[in-house]
């Protein structure tokens, strides 16, 4: 009946779904991601509507964006998505140490991505592409910035989870949290796929 009988014992297969609380958490998080899809979709829609509104004398998307930086950022985030998969795989095998290591790698890569993004924004502002410059710039910074804020939140969240797991170990309470954080991290990467496609690459073409 109770969730507690498992604690400190052998963890079941897919520990994140072993308790009702865990199943609720995973399902609720999937639905939340459905809502996040609409949230980012609206930001994309606003960007698409306003992307050509650059204004006189301001740098256009084509002049502004430097694909090498974007490519590096993409590579970093994609790799971090892979390392978080490895972490969840270790979780399913009840291998705590490898899981922690993979999570630390994930967080480090996430922080690296954030650093690049900050550098990129700093560079754009110097090029005369500030938040208030034009409708294009406002919608660009809002879309990419919302994504960056999600990355930052994910970095902080997973760090807290790492600390928790080190203290409490892997059990039926921590497992769903880690699993859900993994889903969140993949979702962030999925959003980035659309950002580099629609914002950067299409901006370079158009």
């Amino acid at each position: 009946m109770s969730a507690h009988s498992h604690i400190d014992g052998q963890l079941p297969h897919e520990p994140e779904k072993a308790t009702l609380e865990g199943r609720n958490k995973v399902l609720g998080f999937w639905l939340f991601l459905g809502g996040e899809t609409v949230l980012f979709g609206t930001l994309f829609a606003a960007f698409l509507a306003l992307r050509d509104q650059v204004g006189e004398g301001n740098p256009t998307a084509n002049e502004l964006f430097q694909l090498p930086i974007v490519a590096i950022a993409t590579f970093i985030l994609l790799t971090s998505s892979l390392t978080s998969v490895f972490a969840i795989q270790a979780l399913h095998r009840n291998h705590v140490k490898p899981m922690i290591v993979w999570l630390i790698v994930t967080v480090a890569l996430g922080a690296g991505f954030l650093g690049l993004e900050i550098y990129e924004f700093y560079h754009y502002v110097h090029e005369g592409h500030g938040f208030t410059t034009s409708a294009f710039s406002s919608s660009f910074y809002t879309l990419v910035g919302f994504h960056g804020a999600h990355v930052a939140f994910g970095v902080a969240w997973i760090s807290i989870l790492i600390a928790q797991t080190l203290r409490k170990g892997l059990n039926l309470v921590t497992a769903p949290k880690l699993y859900v954080a993994g889903l969140y991290w993949h979702f962030i990467d999925v959003v980035w796929v659309f950002i580099f496609t629609v914002v950067y690459l299409m901006g370079k073409v158009g």
């Binding site: 399902l27 609409v38 949230l39 208030t132 410059t133 406002s138 809002t142």
Partner: protein, 615 residues
């Protein structure tokens, strides 16, 4: 697991501030939503007093704009939705045979964020700069250029905070209904009210994020000089209309679908008949929810989207009349041949049907894009949406409150006063809004603070004002009823209407904190009625009596919401230190919630017997 962790149990005010019990949260929603309903109602009556005669100077044009904006915003976001959340919190877990909702902590957080968002919005009255750009806050009127001062800031930030609570509630109820139904309760055995809440929650999940982005964009425009809607810098004002209505049209179905659910329960119970066409009712609800996302631009026919878009949205809108019509006929056929009891709840239920049909018919009229050019921004539109929102939703809420009051509070509302509430409110409603159709057709525009003499508007506006006052009287009678009822002893039996069909009527009134001592086994649609018809005195339990796990109360949801409230003020007045402090409080509470494991506590079988549960 015989002995669980000792958990602090609070009493008095602290109990209410820390509660994670869905029934208590339901009551909190009802109190807060009811309070905002009274404020919104007062604003409505002030508006009607201003309009009772031509060239009246009861209030200034500025105040009129503020009252108009706050009336709409308050009624939709702070009164109607919370009272629906009150009903869904109080009833849905009971109807599906669950001990709790999926996320009790988040449930409390949802309430407190709504409450502090609403509080922030209404504090604008005391600060002296009130939102005045209409409840839709169209640009460029709501832009920093044309609305300087902090009025629209209150709107943007208040709704943003309240919206978080709504989104949380939507996810919570989706997961609750998917994962926590009692054994045997398949989807097609769920009560109609639960179905309605299920679809409503899905609409909330997919509509509210659009509002979040819209409000964030408007906030960036206002506070940080962004250019989303600043036409001079390449922004687009129509974009706001789109985003607002992509959220806004599902929002009106978020409001009306729960009312459909309530009416289905009330009419079926008081006709002593199974709901006619249950599966078509479910189908119609799902279809309305789906179509609700494809009709938003019918609010924008006169914007100039062009004939293709207008034709598409016109047809899609008219399509919605089909599932709605299915529902209307199903209710009529449920009553047909039933032994109908005209209780106060059922009066509201039956009164709902013709009123809502009228609102629906004017809806189809408005859906004809060419005709809409004539109706647009006239009192005809005002009459239409009050027929569907007040005549639909508010009558549904009254029906639900009279019907479920004993289950929420353990006392039956006074039937005589209830019927008096119905007749005054119902007659007052039709007096107020029926004439407004004709005012609109005569050419009276909406959102004006006064009108000239000799335009033929005078008598109908006077009638409308008298009706509004009568609606106010009806509401006061309802309040009197609550007070009178509260002074009587708690004596409602499990099944006070004696014709209860669903699981909530199998347990005591009010429900114990664990809801079901033993999870019931559901053997069919209308689970309790089926047992009654098979000659059983109650439900067959699906499990032996055992310890019941309960979540522990927590003060964190309150502080998280207070943090957002403080941060809202900080950012509004460009005091970023205070803003950061507020966010720090919120994130700090989230951190605490993450690291402190909530083991909850157990209610042991011996305690259940002490509380008089039959073994």
């Amino acid at each position: 697991m015989a002995h669980a962790h000792a958990v602090k149990r609070y009493s008095g005010l602290m109990d209410w501030l820390t509660t994670v019990d869905h029934k208590k949260i339901g009551i909190l929603y009802l109190i807060a939503g009811g309070f905002f309903f009274l404020i919104g109602g007062l604003e409505a009556i002030l508006i009607r007093i201003q309009l009772w005669q031509p060239l009246n100077d009861f209030i200034s044009e500025t105040t009129y704009n503020e009252l108009l904006t706050m009336h709409g915003t308050t009624m939709i976001f702070l009164a109607a939705m919370p009272i629906l959340f009150a009903l869904m919190n109080a009833i849905v877990p009971l109807q599906i045979g669950a001990r709790d909702v999926a996320f009790p902590f988040l449930n409390a957080l949802g309430f407190w964020t709504f409450f502090f968002g609403g509080l922030l919005l209404n504090i604008s009255w005391f600060v002296g700069s009130v939102p005045d750009a209409g409840w839709t806050s169209y640009l460029p009127l709501a832009s920093p250029t044309y609305s300087d001062g902090h009025g629209v800031d209150f709107y943007v930030i208040g709704l943003q905070i309240a919206g978080i609570g709504t989104l949380i509630g939507g996810i919570n109820f989706l997961v609750t209904i998917i994962n926590m139904r009692a054994p045997g309760m398949s989807f097609m055995r769920m009560p109609m009210f639960t179905w309605a809440i299920f679809i409503t929650s899905a609409l909330i999940l997919f509509a509210f994020p659009a509002l979040t982005v819209g409000l964030a964009a408007l906030m960036f425009d206002r506070l940080f000089a962004a250019n989303f809607f600043e036409v001079g810098n390449g922004g687009n004002a129509v974009l706001w209309e789109h985003i607002f209505w992509i959220f806004g049209h599902p929002e009106v179905y978020i409001l009306i679908l729960p009312a459909f659910g309530v009416i289905s329960e009330v009419i079926s119970t008081f006709s002593r008949k199974r709901l006619f066409g249950y599966s078509s009712m479910v189908f119609a609800t799902v279809l309305i929810g789906f179509l609700g996302f494809m009709v938003w631009a019918h609010h924008m026919f006169t914007t100039g989207l062009g004939p293709v878009a207008n034709a598409l949205f016109s047809i899609a809108t008219m399509l919605i009349a089909v599932p709605t019509g299915i529902k209307i006929f199903n209710w009529l056929f449920t009553m047909w041949g039933g032994s109908i009891r005209f209780t106060a709840a059922n009066l509201f239920g039956i009164g709902f049907i013709p009123t809502f049909v009228m609102g629906g018919v004017t809806g189809v009229m408005l859906a004809a894009a060419p005709a809409d050019y004539q109706y647009h921004d006239s009192y005809f539109v005002v009459a239409h949406f009050h027929y569907v929102i007040v005549g639909g939703l508010v009558l549904g809420i009254f029906a639900g409150l009279h019907y479920w009051w004993p289950k929420m509070f353990g006392r039956m509302l006074n039937e005589g006063l209830g019927k008096l509430t119905f007749w005054t409110f119902y007659i007052g409603f039709h007096l107020t809004f029926f004439v407004q159709h004709f005012l609109g057709l005569l050419g009276m525009p909406r959102r004006i603070y006064t009108y000239q003499d000799n335009l033929g508007f005078n008598n109908m506006n006077l009638i409308s004002t008298i009706g509004a006052i009568l609606m106010g009287v009806g509401t006061i009678i309802f309040l009197v009823n609550i007070v009178v009822t509260a002074m009587r002893p708690k004596d409602a039996p499990n099944d006070p209407w004696e014709d209860g069909r669903t699981l909530e009527w199998t347990i005591s009134s009010p429900a114990p904190e664990y809801n079901f001592a033993q999870t019931p086994l559901v053997r069919g649609y209308d689970a309790y009625w089926k047992e009654k018809m098979d000659g059983n005195s109650g439900m067959t339990p699906a499990e032996p009596i055992g310890p019941i796990h309960m979540p522990s109360p927590s003060i964190l949801p309150l502080f998280m919401s207070i943090g957002l409230f403080i941060a809202g003020f900080g950012f509004m007045f460009s005091n970023y230190i205070i803003g950061a402090v507020g966010l720090l409080v919120t994130f700090g509470c989230m951190f605490l919630r993450s690291i402190i494991d909530d083991h909850g506590f157990h209610i042991e079988p011996e305690e259940l017997e002490d509380k008089g549960v039959k073994a």
